[in-house]
Structure formats: structure tokens, C-alpha cells
Amino acid sequence: MLELKGIRKVFGGIVALDNVSLKLEKGELLGLIGPNGAGKTTLFNVIGGVYKPDSGRVFFNGEDITGKRPDIIAKRGLLQTFQLSPVVPPLSVLQNVALGYQRLINLSVWAELFSSKREKEVEENCLEILNLLGLARVKNEVVKNLPLGLQRFVALGIALAGKPEILLLDEPLAGLNADEVEDVMRLITRINQEKGVTMLLIDHTIDAIMAYCHRVAVLHYGRKIAEGTPEYVQKKQDVIEAYLGT
């Protein structure tokens, strides 16, 4: 479904990604881990079209999407959530989720301008997602007033509103407590199984990744040093060294 072939990305003298190849099958939940600065977020940015890779190609459903604009890639069905600013703080929960619906609205260039009628339709669809995420009761709250855990749910809601074929999640668990981690992971698995959304998940919460993901890939200094089932990866010597040092 998603295939990366020999991705390389250099910033100045720093090699952020070095010959990274990765393949995702339909319906898979793949965890991507690695120490800070390993190149995980850069990889997401390359896939999502924020950066152009220096070499290598990205294929999505057999189509070459390397270096295409983010909105074009999103329209194809590849959505992502961001680590640092996953929501639009000054808007309400409902408005945030309505933004995510953008991929499915095919308004002509000018119809978008005076489209209050269509917004009703959008709102109904968004409410469905808010119910799934348990956000219906705070739908009119401004997002910046919500606790961090709920903001993460809103971020998921934005991505889900676009009904993605594949979803890239950048550290959805960062800064959450143990209970919240459980909630978010359970929700992610549910979306993966019930809606059949293929997912690529970055996080540092190794326990959760190992417990829920089908396969795990490990990046270290821009290189993929391991890929396989959680059990296999956990036993691999390189991975243990990358995390604990030699």
C-alpha cells in the first residue's frame, strides 16, 4: 500500500535519513521507534510532502507521490497528525474536525466561498466522529482550553474526518499519563480494525508500541536498523545498543 524505496534526506551536513526502505501492507499497524533525532519525523514529512527527499521514491497504492504537494497527497487518502501542533487552537472542536473533512468536499473553486448549506452536511458527519471519540459534549469548546489528552483526540478526529486510507500518527502518546495512553491506543486499534485504516505510528512509549503494533521498525541515526514483529525487534542486539548504548 505504502512503499518507501531508498529515501535519503540531508540537512546541511547532517544525514537525517539514509537509504530508508519500508513497506506497509493494507490494514497493518506499524510502529516506528528510535531515539530522539533518529529521523522519524523527517520520514513522515517526506512521505507527507512537506520535504522533498534528496533521493529515493515514495509509492502510494502503486503511484509515485514523491515530492508532491501536501494537499495533493492528502487528497489521495494519506493523512497525518503532527507532533508539535496537531490542532488549530483558536477554533472549536467541531470546527477543527470540520477542517479534516476538507479532503472529501469537492467544491469548485468558487462554490467554496458561499457554501453555508454544505456546512450543515459536514457538521452531521463530524458529529459522528465526535461521538466515536467521546468528544460530543465538548464540541463547542475552543480547543486551546481543553486538556492535552483531549486535544490529542481532537487531532485524531481531524485526521479521521477525512476518512483516510492510511494514517500517519506522529507521537500521539507524548505527554499522556498511563490511563490516557491506554485510551488512545485502544482507540487507534479500534480504528485500525473496524475502519480498516492502515497506520504508521511513531512514539517513544515502547511498551504501548510493542503491545499493540503488528510490526515494528527501528530507526537510528537515519538508518533502519531493524524491522519485524515486536518480539523479534525486542531481542535484536542493535536495537538494545541503540537505546541503552554499548
Binding site: L79, S85, L91, A98, L99, Q102, V109
Partner: protein, 322 residues
Amino acid sequence: MPRSKKLFGILVLLAMAVPMGIFASPLYLDLLVMIWFNIGIVISLWILLRTGETSCGHAAFVAIGAYTCAITTTQLGFSVWIAFLLGGIVAMLIALMIGQAVLHTKGIYFLVVTLGFGEVLRAIWLKMDVPFGSAAGIKNIPAPEGFPLIIDTFHSFYFLMMIFSLIVILSGYALSRSRFGLLSTALVANEKLVAACGTNIKLCKTKAFVIGCFFAGLGGAIYASYLGFISPFTFTARESLYYVMYAVVGGPSVFAGPVVGAVICTTIYLLLYAVGYYRIMVFGVLLLIVMLVLPGGLVSLPQRLSGLAAKFKFSRGTPDHA
């Protein structure tokens, strides 16, 4: 405030605007026409400001509309009504070209390009005798024919400008409530996310720019017909900066902001005519005070006052134990 009450207030203000236009003396009538004109222009600029881009060449697009109207009526013999529309369309097409060329850059670049563009245009108008009439400009721009006369042409123009302004206000309001409005607000706060949701950011900003410039051109064309005269000195970079300032002084975050800013600033500026040469200085100091005291713009005044009142009550109400 409930919506019906707000609507009622707006209708009362509108109802007041009609007799004002009929009974005002010529001097005040000119002020009132300027107010309506500036409201329309500032709202047209605000459509772009909402997307986080600032144009410092908005007056140039007003002037494009004005020159289009002047040339098509005096030299090509077009109907004035058609000239108005052409003014908007020409400004829109030029905005489309400039938007396509530079709107993939962010912030300061667009500001500098629009500022430069305005000055380049002005140089062209100044140097070209045909068809722009160089420094002397173009005179004898006619008023629209078949114009329903209210008292005289002067008063009729008041109502024409009012209708122009109301059209811009209604369109601006409809835009701010549409999906396009939602996208504009969101992309200021988090452009990366909005793009990743499937929005073409450049297209969105270009649209805002093009629509804004259409209204600017339309307004400029009507203004040229009102004044009967246009020269390279009518709309300069200073006017562009004023339009930005009106929006900021009023409070650009809400719809009422630019309207309030345009009304109050235009009134103060024109009434300061009395102090002659010191007008700009006094105006500048007034603006500084407003920005220092009310960073949210003039529209945040009621909120600010009620906040102060509550504070005052609180300090009076608590007994002093010291």
C-alpha cells in the same frame, strides 16, 4: 449579545444612514461618502488579512479600478455602469497574476512585493501621457447615466457608495461564515495542518486576494466617477498603509473591527482638517494611544471597560484590613 438584538442594532444604524445622506451639508456629505467608501475598501482588504497575508498595495488596486473607469468612459466611450464592473474585473485579473506569482511565499515577501507593485504602477501612470494623462491625471469622468436622482448627483453618489459598501460588507460576512472563512482562520493558526488536510494553501490565499481586489477595483471605479478626476496622487502607498491601519485599529480579529476602524479613523482624520498641517501628527498620536490602551483594537473597548468596572467594584467592595 443575542443575534436578533445585534441585527436590530445594525438595522437602526442603517436606518439612520439614510436621512444622514439626505440632510447633510455638502462638506459632511463628502465625509459620509468617504466613510462608506473606506468601509468597503477596508473590508475588501480584510478578506485577505484574514488569511494572514498583508497587502501594502491595496490602494494600487483601487487606483486600477479608478483608471479603468476613467479611460473606458472618457476615451473609449463606455457606459459608466459597465466601466464600474470593468474596474473590478481588471483589478481582479491583475491580482490573479500577482497572487500566482508571489503567494507561495509568506508574510514579509508578499507585503514588499505588493508595496513595490503599487509604486511601479504609479510610476507608469506618472510617465505615460497616453492613456494615463501623466501627472495631471484624467479629468471629466462622467457620473453614471440614468442615475435615479436623489436631490442632486452629489446626494445620489452617497447612496451609490452606500450600496457598494453594503454589498462588500454582506459578501465579506458571507465569506467569513463559509468553508473558505474557516480555512482562512485555521491557516493563520496552523498552516501545515490545514495543508495536510487537503487544502491548497496558495489557492486559498489567491482567492482571498483576488476577491478583495475585485471589490477594491469596483470601489475605485465608483470613487473616480464621484470625484470626476483621477491622478497618480489620489491613491498612493500612504493610502495602502492607511487601509491596513484602519483594519488593525478597529481590531482585525472580528468582522465588526474593520468597519468600526474605517468609520472612526476616517471621521477623525477628516475632522482634523481644522488643525491643518499638524493633522497627521495629531492623528498619529491618537492612533498610538489607541494601540497602547487597546491592543485588541477599538472593538475590544466595551469588553475592556466592563473589565475595568469589575476591577473597580472589587477593590471598593473588599474591606481593607491593613
